[in-house]
């Protein structure tokens, strides 16, 4: 897929290039209230020589003044920067186990890292934690064409896993913008959601087994292919979404789905959010089993994306009066019979058009158009970041309230006189909303010219309080990490938080795994 490749290349180059580079200050300086836990040992020569006895020379990276291990110490949003001087890149589960057993014994803190594409600062060190990169564990272990069960190492890049099973007629049950960099282990450890959630559901359902190394070095293995295994506690569920705080995922057994033989994408303009919801309701009913994505974005998000993709013509024209519709909706169907799907989609579109629920629309005529239409959704995150930075909020809200958070945030930013699309003296460019309607998941991105404490104070805890007041979740799919650790109370009650802490203590009594984060 030519265009898809471009997408991931862009993503990677954004991650690595310096085109918006500012010298980023250390997380520890920007958040002085977070103190390094004195119980953790500081790395010394003895530790290094011990790691040398486990790993070969090329599996150990040391920070030097010339190479401060930036790509491992900084997250890709350039919001968090740790000061680790050591990256370990084991190749086998046994090596991971030996490393952990040692760190646990001497109390060296550690942050597990996959593709480092997380959005809440969960995959980079806060202070001097050792970085354990899973990148070298990148083998596909097995694939069963009959059951569709894929077993692979944690460091396999999602895109590679997708390509691998695609050749064998299957799809990985999740897809996300970072697929060119993120890794299977990280995807599982963070319980990533993504674009196919509406059709294939959560990783809690599709992960069939895990291989996990506990902080004491013990290897827990349940790399099974069983869809049904009702024998007591399903312990692997604890590690899905544990954000590397309970153990290190080294192997994943995941159920892949048969690859749809026919895909369609329609891109629609809708003039109100209530109509977006009505279109969704009808799409669920009429497209039913072939509906595989229902994404929405507001017109401000698309305006920013138009600036980011100047060479790609926007799929829809504005109406005669020059009014932009307020919302756009992208509907994807996937099924096994093209004619059947075409007919279903066309009759659905005809009906919503007749009912005047949509004001304009188009439908992809070939694969190139299909990928280009997806670009108008997938490129929003990068578009909101290109002028300096972005504050990202990823929340779940009941559908009728979903967009009200974006409206409330815009009002608030205006009230504090912080926002302007044109005036460069204002820190905020725009607050935009988009996301997965199908899952009640809103992405609120605040595109900024610079990261700024004043803006942060206006946004937080306001956004969390708003979400909490609507009984939403402050993190629908990005996790808690470092960014949202202190806001967990807006989504979970005291008892729930206590039991999470108890679980953490049980698995990681010394607290060496990914400290200062999650719970």
């Amino acid at each position: 897929m030519f265009k898809k490749a471009i997408v991931s290349i862009r993503y990677n180059s954004l991650k690595k290039s310096n085109f918006y580079y500012r010298s980023l200050s250390y997380t520890s300086e920007r958040y002085p209230q977070v103190q390094r836990d004195t119980k953790f040992k500081r790395l010394n020569e003895d530790d290094i020589s011990h790691f040398n006895s486990i790993l070969s020379k090329d599996q150990i990276l040391h920070a030097t003044p010339d190479n401060p291990l930036i790509i491992y110490n900084e997250d890709w949003m350039k919001k968090y920067k740790g000061q680790s001087s050591l990256v370990l890149k084991p190749k086998t589960t046994t090596q991971v186990s030996q490393i952990l057993a040692y760190c646990n014994k001497v109390q060296l803190a550690m942050v597990p890292q996959g593709g480092n594409t997380g959005l809440v600062g969960g995959s980079v060190p806060v202070f001097d934690e050792i970085i354990l990169s899973l990148s070298n564990m990148n083998n596909i272990r097995s694939f069963d064409e009959l059951t569709g069960v894929l077993k692979c190492d944690a460091g396999v890049i999602l895109q590679n896993a997708m390509d691998y099973v695609s050749d064998k007629g299957h799809v990985i049950p999740l897809d996300l913008g970072a697929k060119g960099s993120c890794q299977m282990g990280g995807v599982v450890a963070t319980n990533a959601g993504g674009l196919r959630f509406i059709k294939y559901g959560s990783l809690h359902g599709s992960v069939l087994g895990l291989e996990v190394v506990l902080p004491n070095g013990q290897i827990l293995n349940s790399m099974k292919s069983l869809r049904k295994d009702n024998t007591g506690y399903d312990w692997k569920q604890l590690f899905i979404g544990s954000e590397g705080t309970l153990g290190i995922v080294t192997g994943v057994s995941i159920l892949t789905a048969p690859k749809p033989k026919a895909n369609n994408v329609a891109f629609l303009a809708v003039d109100s959010f209530s109509n977006v919801l009505e279109v969704f309701k009808r799409a669920k009913g009429e497209l039913n089993e072939i509906l595989s994505a229902f994404e929405f974005m507001d017109s401000t998000a698309e305006k920013l994306t138009e600036k980011y993709l100047p060479d790609l013509p926007f799929p829809l024209e504005s109406d005669q009066e020059g009014n932009e519709p307020s919302f756009y909706v992208l509907i994807e169907t996937s099924g096994s019979n093209k004619e059947h799907d075409d007919n279903k989609l066309e009759s659905f579109l005809e009906k919503v058009m007749e009912s005047e629920l949509i004001v304009d629309g188009t439908i992809a005529q070939d694969e190139t158009e299909l990928t280009n239409l997806w670009n108008w959704r997938e490129m929003i995150p990068e578009s909101t970041q290109m002028n300096g930075g972005v504050y990202k909020y990823d929340v779940s809200l009941p559908l009728p309230d979903l967009y009200s958070l974006v409206e409330a945030t815009n009002e608030r930013l205006k009230k504090f006189n912080l926002m302007s699309e044109t005036e460069s003296s204002k820190p905020v460019i725009a607050a935009v909303g988009f996301g997965h309607i199908g899952d009640g998941n809103l992405h609120l991105n605040i595109a900024v010219r610079e990261y700024n404490k004043e803006v942060e104070k206006v946004l937080e805890p306001f956004i969390y309080e708003f979400v909490s007041s609507k009984n939403g979740s402050i993190s629908a799919e990005h996790g808690l990490g470092f960014q949202k650790k202190n806001y967990i109370k807006y989504s979970k009650n005291d008892n729930e938080i206590q039991i999470m802490k108890d679980i953490k203590r049980e698995f990681d009594p010394n607290g060496i795994l990914n400290p200062y984060k999650c719970v």
């Binding site: 093209k338 579109l349 629309g361 005529q365």
Partner: protein, 262 residues
């Protein structure tokens, strides 16, 4: 009464450009269940004819899309109609398989010559090549058979005085501007324009528009359809070897030595 400009746009239904087809046998590609769409160069030709119509209210521009293919090719004609093409014709070459008999460029050119000599056409705009067989010769052959001027691989096109066409072609190391008198055959290159998306409303309306239907064998008895070329073998391109990411220059040098490259 203003001057007429009647544009004929021959189009072809091809395997989608983004798909990687597999081989069925050493001479055949497996097309079962794969997505077909309009040849991208032809899509550009369609767009250009629509742009000419919009740019020239001074002329009576009419646009006519035509294809030779199985009945499934109606899909691409519908899209052309939805985009604003005035008339569409399907010349059916249906065989038992449903995908239609394959025609060589010269045969296509002969059929189109018949069409042009029946109707009245001032300008033919078509893709420079079809992305499935990559012949890049049908346009030239039509021009030859009709004894018309031709401008191939065009990246810019304008009508001058309603009688001439000025085109820009990208040639080796630069650009070439040509002026030619109508009638003319033009083949399109990628830089000419970016095709529009089909509007949903128009697509629904286009469903009700008629498509003229002709039959290759019955309506074109004078064209000899016997193939002159034989496909001896088709091969898949060599697969690219997966790259590796190395951590240090030392490692790179070691690997290069290992593979005896230095």
């Amino acid at each position: 009464m203003s001057r007429q400009l009647r544009i004929l746009v021959p189009v072809k239904r091809v395997l989608d450009s983004q798909l990687k087809p597999r081989l069925l046998s050493s001479t055949q590609i497996d097309t079962a269940n794969l997505k077909f769409s309009i040849n991208p160069f032809d899509d550009i030709a369609i767009e250009e004819s629509l742009l000419l119509k919009k740019r020239h209210p001074d002329l009576q521009v009419s646009t006519h899309a035509i294809t030779i293919g199985p009945s499934k090719s109606q899909d691409i004609l519908r899209n052309c109609l939805a985009k604003g093409i005035d008339k569409a014709t399907l010349i059916s070459n249906e065989d038992k398989g449903g995908d239609g008999v394959t025609l060589e460029p010269l045969k296509v050119a002969h059929v189109l010559k018949e069409v042009v000599s029946k109707g009245e056409v001032d300008l033919i705009i078509m893709g420079k090549q079809a992305i499935d067989d990559d012949f890049n010769m049908t346009g030239q052959m039509i021009a030859g058979l009709l004894n018309w001027s031709q401008a191939t691989n065009v990246t810019k096109l304008e009508i001058v005085d309603g009688t001439h066409v000025r085109v820009v072609r990208e040639v080796d190391g630069g650009k070439e501007t040509l002026l030619a008198k109508l009638p003319l055959v033009i083949t399109t290159d990628l830089g000419l324009n970016t095709p529009r998306y089909v509007k949903l409303q128009s697509l629904m309306k286009a469903k009700k528009k008629p498509i003229e239907k002709l039959d290759l064998i019955n309506d074109f008895p004078q064209v000899d359809l016997q193939p002159r070329l034989k496909i001896v073998e088709v091969e898949e391109p060599e697969t690219k070897k997966q790259g590796v990411i190395l951590n240090s220059v030392d490692e790179l040098i070691a690997k290069l030595k290992e593979s005896k490259l230095v």
